[in-house]
C-alpha cells in the first residue's frame, strides 16, 4: 500500500515536471513566433503623452513614430518619408505617407500629426518639454505639415523619433483616459487586452494590415520584474528570450551559462554633478581649481575595478562616444593625482580643506562607492559627509529645496549632442542653479544655429571647456549587457539603454 502511494506520488511529480518544463519563447529548431522580453520599467500608461525613456518599447509596438531612429542613431523614414529644414533652421517641413490608417480605419494625415504634437506639448508628460521650442504646427495638405520653431533646435529630429513622435489616433483624444490602457496607433502590433495584465505582462499581437515592413515575431510579450535575479533565471531556463542586465554580479552570473548570448553596450555613466558652480551652497566650489582638485583626487580605475568589477571605461567627460562632442583623450583628462589635487586646493586658498555634503540614495550610491569617494576626497582634505535619504524625500530636498551643491548620478548618454547639452548644460533639472559662463554663452548659440555636421568643432570646444573647468566629476561609463537565451539576436539601440522593438531577430 505504502509503496503504491509513493509510486503514485513519483509519477505525479514527474508528470508535472514533464508537462510544465520551461515554457515560453524559443521553440527549438522552428521559427520562434513569440518574443518574451523582460523589463524593469513600468510604463506610467500607454498614452503617448506619458511615454518616457526606457518605456519606449511598449509604445513602439502600438504606435509608429514620425521618424525612425536606426540602431546606429541615424534617421530613416517611418510615418514621415522626408523632412527638410529651411535656411534659418526654424521651419521643419515633413512629408507624410498617404496610405496609413489607424487601427479603426481612420486615415493618418497631417491633421493627426498636428493634433498629436499639440496634445503632447501640453499634456504634462515627462517629455512634453522636448517640444517647448515648437511655436506652431501648420498643415498644408493631408501629407504635408510644417513645425515652426521659436528658435533652432538641433535635437528636433531626435525627439520626433522618440516619445514626441509617437502618433496616436486623435479620435481617442476626446475621452482622456482611453489611451492609457487601450492604446490605438498605426504600429505593427496591437495590445492583446485578453492576455495582458497591466503592471505584470503586456502582450502585443501582430496587426495583419500593418503598412510597413513585417517584424519577425507574431507576438511580443513584455514582462515586468522588480529584480534581476528572476530575469537571469528566466533567461537561463529559456522562459525569457531577451533582457538588459545592469548589475555587474548578475552579468557575471548570466555569462557563465554557455547557451546565453550577450552583447555589451556602454550607455549610462556615473559621476558627481557639481551643480553649485557659483558657490551658493558650498562657496568653495565657485573656484574652478577646487572642482579640478576634486577630479584629480578620485581614483577612477580602482573605483571601476571594485564597484563595477571592471565592466566599463573610466572617463572625465559627460559626452558619450556616439556624440560629435566626444574626444577620446578627454576620458583620461584627470589622472589620479592627489598631490596635484592638494596643490590646487592650496592655490585656491583651501589648504585646510572644506566639507562637502552630498545626498545619498542607496540605490545609486552603494556602500563601496560611498566609502571610496569618502576616502579619496578625505586624503586631499575634503571631508565628504553623506546625508542618508529615502528616495521620496531625496527628490524633494535636491530638486525643490536645492539643498545640496552636488549629487552622484547615473545618467544615460544620448547620441544626439543637443539632447545631451539640454540635459546637462542648459538651465534645468540637472543644472538647477542655472549656472553658465562666458565660454558656454559664446558656444551655445553657435551650436544651436548651425547644422549638426558644422557644429562638431564648437561641440568639442564646449566639451573640452566643461572638462577643464570641472563642471562635473564623472567616474566611468558602465557596461550594460543585453542577454538572450540564445534564440534571439539583439542589436543595441544607440542613445537608449533598452533596444527598440525593431532590433530583435531570431538567431540564425
Amino acid at each position: 500500500m505504502k509503496r503504491s502511494a509513493t509510486a503514485a506520488l513519483l509519477v505525479t511529480a514527474s508528470l508535472i515536471a514533464g508537462c510544465s518544463g520551461p515554457g515560453g519563447g524559443g521553440t527549438a529548431g522552428g521559427a520562434s513566433t513569440t518574443l518574451n522580453i523582460a523589463t524593469m520599467t513600468l510604463p506610467q500608461s500607454l498614452d503617448p503623452k506619458d511615454a518616457n525613456g526606457s518605456a519606449l518599447p511598449f509604445f513602439q509596438a502600438v504606435y509608429d513614430t514620425l521618424i525612425k531612429r536606426e540602431p546606429d542613431g541615424t534617421y530613416s523614414p517611418m510615418l514621415a518619408t522626408e523632412w527638410k529644414y529651411d535656411d534659418g533652421l526654424t521651419e521643419l517641413s515633413l512629408t507624410l505617407r498617404g496610405d496609413v490608417k489607424f487601427d479603426d480605419g481612420t486615415p493618418f494625415d497631417a491633421e493627426a500629426v498636428k493634433a498629436n504634437l499639440e496634445r503632447f506639448r501640453k499634456g504634462g508628460g515627462a517629455q512634453a518639454k522636448t517640444l517647448n521650442d515648437v511655436k506652431s504646427i501648420e498643415v498644408a495638405d493631408p501629407t504635408h505639415v510644417t513645425l515652426v520653431l521659436s528658435k533652432p533646435n538641433p535635437a528636433m529630429l531626435y525627439y520626433l523619433s522618440d516619445a514626441a513622435g509617437l502618433m496616436a489616433n486623435p479620435k481617442d483624444f476626446a475621452q482622456d483616459d482611453t489611451l492609457k490602457t487601450r492604446p490605438g496607433g498605426t504600429g505593427p502590433y496591437e495590445l492583446d487586452q485578453g492576455r495582458t495584465v497591466i503592471g505584470t505582462k503586456w502582450v502585443f499581437t501582430r496587426t495583419a494590415r500593418y503598412w510597413g515592413a513585417r517584424l519577425p515575431y507574431d507576438t511580443i510579450a513584455i514582462s515586468y520584474f522588480d529584480n534581476e535575479t528572476a530575469i537571469v533565471n528566466g533567461i537561463k531556463t529559456g522562459q525569457l528570450d531577451a533582457a538588459l542586465i545592469q548589475d555587474a554580479d548578475q552579468q557575471i552570473s548570466v555569462e557563465s551559462d554557455p547557451k546565453v548570448k550577450t552583447v555589451k553596450q556602454e550607455f549610462d555613466f556615473q559621476g558627481v554633478f557639481l551643480f553649485d558652480r557659483a558657490g551658493a551652497v558650498t562657496p568653495e566650489l565657485r573656484d574652478p581649481r577646487v572642482r579640478q582638485a576634486l577630479n584629480y583626487a578620485i581614483d577612477r580605475r580602482t573605483m571601476l575595478a571594485k564597484i563595477r568589477q571592471g565592466r566599463g571605461a573610466v572617463t572625465s567627460q559627460v559626452f558619450g562616444p556616439a556624440t560629435a562632442a566626444y574626444k577620446p583623450e578627454l576620458d583620461t583628462y584627470y589622472g589620479f593625482d592627489q598631490a596635484k589635487a592638494r596643490a590646487l586646493l592650496k592655490e585656491a586658498g583651501h589648504e585646510s580643506g572644506f566639507t562637502l555634503k552630498l545626498p545619498r540614495i542607496p540605490a545609486i550610491v552603494s556602500d563601496a562607492l560611498a566609502a571610496s569617494l569618502q576616502s579619496d576626497l578625505g586624503a586631499v582634505g575634503v571631508k565628504l559627509v553623506w546625508d542618508d535619504l529615502d528616495p521620496g524625500s531625496a527628490v524633494q530636498r535636491i530638486f525643490r529645496d536645492r539643498a545640496y551643491s552636488a549629487m552622484v548620478m547615473n545618467m544615460g548618454q544620448s547620441s544626439a549632442d543637443w539632447v545631451a547639452v539640454g540635459e546637462v548644460v542648459l538651465p534645468g533639472a540637472f543644472n538647477m542653479f542655472g549656472y553658465t559662463d562666458d565660454t558656454v554663452k559664446k558656444l551655445l548659440p553657435r551650436i544651436q544655429g548651425s547644422a549638426a555636421q558644422d557644429a562638431k568643432a564648437d561641440l568639442q570646444a564646449l566639451n573640452e571647456h566643461l572638462v577643464a573647468d570641472g563642471w562635473f566629476m564623472p567616474f566611468y561609463r558602465m557596461t550594460y549587457l543585453h542577454v538572450s537565451d540564445g534564440s534571439v539576436t539583439i542589436k543595441p539601440q544607440d542613445g537608449m539603454a533598452v533596444p527598440a522593438i525593431y532590433n530583435y531577430a531570431p538567431a540564425q
Partner: protein
C-alpha cells in the same frame, strides 16, 4: 457564538476604518513627491507641481482621505498613479497567485507539522530529537537561502520546474502546480518547523494529563487515545500558531514572489510602496487588515469547535 461573531465583525470594521486613516496619513508625508517620481528627475518643477495638482495632492491630507473613503465605500478604489491600471482589477489579477501560495503553505504545514509534532510528542526519544533538530534548522535557515537553492537546483540546473512565472489554475492545473510547488516548498520549511514544535509540546502536555492516564488504564488502544482525545485537545494552541503563520506568510511571500518572478500581492506591495502609489497601497493595506481579521476569526471559531471549553458565550 453568533453574538461573538457579530461583535468581532463590528470591532473589525472599526479597526479597518482606523487603520485606513492612519495609513493614509502616514503615506501622505510631504516628502514623497509623487509628481517628481512620475515625471522623472529631469522634469521641470512647474510640470511636477501641475502633476501633483492633477492628482489632487495639493489638497489637505484629510480632504484627500475623505475623498478616498467616500469612493472606497462605494467600491471605487481608483486607478494606480504609476501604471494607470484599475486598482480592483490590478489586485484581483494578483490575488490568485498569493492565495495559491498561502493556501499551499497552510495545507503543507497543517499536514506535515501535525504528523511530525504528534510523532515526536508520542514517540519521544530519537524521533523527538530528530524533529527538534529539524525544527531548529528549519526555523533558523534564512528563507531567501532556501528559495535560492531550490530555484538553482530544481529549476535552473535540473529544469524540473519553471524558474519564473505563474500559470493560473483555470488555465492549466499541472501548469499551476508546477509554478507554485517550489515557492510553496520554500515557504513551508520555516512554517512547518514552527508549527511542529508547537504541536509537539502541546501533545506532550496533554499526554501528561490525568484523563489520558485514565483512558490508558481503561485499556483504550493508544492510537485511538492519540487521534480522538490527545490531538483534539492539543490542536487549539497549534491552530493559533498556524493562524499566525498564515498572516505572517505575506512577509515571506514578498521575497519568494520576487525570486520566482511571481506576479502576486507580495511583490506588488514592494513595487508600489517604494513609489508611493497611494490608491494601490491603500487597497493592499485594507486587504491585509481584512484578511488578518478574517483569519483570526476563523481560527477562534475553529478552536471553539474543537475545544468546547474555549467556546465563548
Amino acid at each position: 457564538m453568533a453574538a461573538f461573531v457579530v461583535r468581532r465583525i463590528a470591532a473589525g470594521a472599526l479597526l479597518v476604518l482606523v487603520i485606513s486613516f492612519l495609513s493614509y496619513t502616514l503615506l501622505s508625508i510631504p516628502g514623497l513627491d509623487v509628481g517628481r517620481q512620475l515625471l522623472g528627475q529631469s522634469a521641470s518643477q512647474d510640470l511636477v507641481d501641475a502633476k501633483n495638482a492633477a492628482l489632487g495632492l495639493d489638497r489637505p491630507v484629510l480632504v484627500q482621505y475623505l475623498d478616498w473613503l467616500a469612493h472606497a465605500v462605494r467600491g471605487d478604489l481608483g486607478t494606480s498613479w504609476f501604471t494607470s491600471e484599475n486598482v480592483v482589477r490590478a489586485i484581483a489579477n494578483r490575488l490568485p497567485v498569493t492565495i495559491s501560495l498561502m493556501a499551499g503553505v497552510t495545507l503543507v504545514t497543517a499536514v506535515l507539522a501535525f504528523l511530525l509534532g504528534v510523532w515526536a510528542g508520542v514517540r519521544r526519544g530519537a524521533v523527538d530529537r530528530f524533529v527538534q533538530v529539524f525544527s531548529v534548522i528549519g526555523y533558523a535557515l534564512p528563507n531567501f537561502l532556501v528559495t535560492l537553492v531550490l530555484v538553482l537546483v530544481f529549476a535552473v540546473h535540473l529544469r524540473w520546474f519553471p524558474a519564473i512565472g505563474y500559470v493560473g489554475i483555470g488555465e492549466s492545473f499541472s501548469g499551476w502546480l508546477s509554478t507554485v510547488l517550489l515557492p510553496v516548498l520554500s515557504l513551508s520549511v520555516g512554517s512547518v518547523a514552527g508549527v511542529a514544535q508547537q504541536v509537539r509540546s502541546s501533545v506532550i502536555e496533554v499526554l501528561r494529563q490525568d484523563y489520558v492516564r485514565t483512558l490508558r488504564a481503561r485499556g483504550l488502544p493508544p492510537s485511538r487515545i492519540v487521534l480522538r482525545h490527545v490531538l483534539r485537545n492539543a490542536s487549539a494552541p497549534a491552530l493559533a500558531v498556524l493562524g499566525m503563520q498564515f498572516v505572517g506568510l505575506l512577509g515571506g511571500a514578498v521575497l519568494v514572489e520576487q525570486i520566482f518572478g511571481l506576479p502576486g500581492i507580495g511583490s506588488m506591495t514592494v513595487t508600489y510602496t517604494t513609489r508611493g502609489d497611494i490608491p494601490i497601497i491603500m487597497a493592499l493595506v485594507m486587504l491585509t487588515v481584512i484578511g488578518v481579521i478574517a483569519v483570526n476569526l476563523v481560527v477562534d471559531i475553529l478552536i471553539g469547535w474543537l475545544n468546547p471549553k474555549a467556546r465563548i458565550a
